[in-house]
């Protein structure tokens, strides 16, 4: 029998399908891993955006990885409330994002300081579009080094 902590360690390593440098734990998508009634494993996840197309893939990855550990009947539960926020993104996650070339969101949703270029660090940046390659990103360009980059929106 796999404990809740062991199961959590297994699923926490699952990469986000769209930004694979981040795990679902880094992103705050993974909310909880519990054992109900002494034997029923429940993994609770929450979508970043309502229409996030990665959720189906994440669900099947969770079932697959737990299956490899012999847990065949785990339940993956999706909750909408409380609504996901970038405040739940780990420090580690923010660092990985920056290194990957995506400007991370501010430390908290209250943090309204500007976006910094992930390449040169300049805060002299320009928003090109509030919408980007995925729901959670916006497009920016650095005015200092001219690098176009994605910004993970505060949400």
């Amino acid at each position: 029998m796999v404990s809740a902590a062991e199961a959590r360690a297994v699923v926490a390593e699952i990469p986000d399908p769209e930004i694979p440098v981040l795990t679902i734990a880094d992103l705050g998508i993974l909310r909880e891993v519990t054992i109900e009634d002494g034997e029923h494993l429940v993994v609770t996840i929450t979508p970043t955006y309502s229409g996030c197309p990665a959720m189906d893939l994440i669900r099947s990855e969770i079932a697959g990885r737990l299956g490899e550990r012999g847990v065949e009947d785990a339940e993956v539960r999706t909750v909408l409330s409380p609504a996901w926020t970038t405040d739940w993104m780990s420090e580690e996650g923010r660092r990985k994002l920056r290194e990957y070339g995506i400007a991370p969101p501010g430390a908290t949703t209250e943090d309204t300081l500007g976006v910094a270029c992930p390449r040169c660090g300049s805060s002299n940046v320009r928003e090109i579009s509030r919408f980007g390659a995925t729901s959670c990103q916006a497009q920016y360009a650095c005015q200092a080094c001219l690098e176009p980059f994605d910004h993970f929106k505060r949400h």
Binding site: P47, Y49, L80, S81, S135, Q139
Partner: protein, 238 residues
């Protein structure tokens, strides 16, 4: 226990049908950034619709197997895309209303409705900003862009009456649209003023019937495109 399914269906159909309309812009918008923006808005709306429809029944059955008369969406969301200005005007008028409605529903007793509302508030505020920014740009742009956004707002204005009229069923199960009118008028009015566009006059023509399943002729074509694949190949997957 109160049955909220009709209400969830109304909210879900508004989101679903506008999402279907907007997704047409994929690869057709005036620039790449706009292509991404409109399809991202469509995706947000589709996500909201899926949660709401799934709380009522099988989401595929509801989206793909219902007939025109069974859809409960407002007429404004099914209005054809028209030109870019028409699409933006529709978004401004509807998103401003939809945001106010979701904000009023975050503490709703139904879990699917409250959960969707809480998530959607953040998403739709982006949709509002986007539509308001474009309305200002078009209104303050060239003579051509200005004429087009003015015509678009005037064309769609009559449909806002159905959206904001008193509805006793909605007042009982969620929020009365009429209670959102004042805020809506202020917010839309500010954007129109910033775009140097006036608020259109009420011509007295106020089309309605969407909530009873009475839709425009264009709606049949929209459904045919949305539903034909599922009906021809039930259960088809990519």
């Amino acid at each position: 226990m109160t049955d909220y399914s009709t209400y969830a269906l109304r909210l879900g159909d508004d989101a679903l049908i506008l999402s279907q309309r907007l997704s047409w812009w994929s690869s057709r918008a005036p620039e790449l950034e706009e292509d991404l923006a409109l399809t991202n808005v469509a995706l947000d709306l589709l996500g909201q619709a899926r949660t709401l429809l799934a709380s009522v029944g099988d989401e595929d059955e509801l989206a793909f197997m219902r007939e025109s008369r069974e859809f409960l969406n407002l007429l404004i969301v099914e209005r054809p895309n028209g030109d870019f200005a028409q699409t933006i005007a529709r978004q401004l008028l509807f998103s401003t209303f939809q945001l106010a409605r979701y904000e009023a529903l975050v503490d709703h007793p139904d879990e699917a409705i409250a959960g969707t509302a809480a998530k959607a508030v953040k998403e739709v505020s982006y949709h509002c900003d986007h539509a308001a920014n474009w309305t200002r740009r078009l209104g303050d742009g060239t003579e051509e862009s200005r004429a087009r956004i003015r015509d678009a707002i005037e064309n769609l204005w009559p449909y806002t009456f159905e959206m904001l009229e008193h509805d006793s069923l909605e007042a009982e199960l969620g929020v009365d649209p009429a209670s959102l009118r004042e805020r809506w008028e202020v917010e839309v009015g500010q954007t129109l003023e910033a775009a140097a566009l006036g608020v259109p006059e009420d011509s007295g023509w106020r089309p309605g019937g969407g909530r009873r399943g009475v839709h425009d002729e264009d709606f049949g074509y929209l459904l045919a495109e949305m539903q034909s694949l599922h009906r021809a190949h039930p259960g088809a997957r990519w």
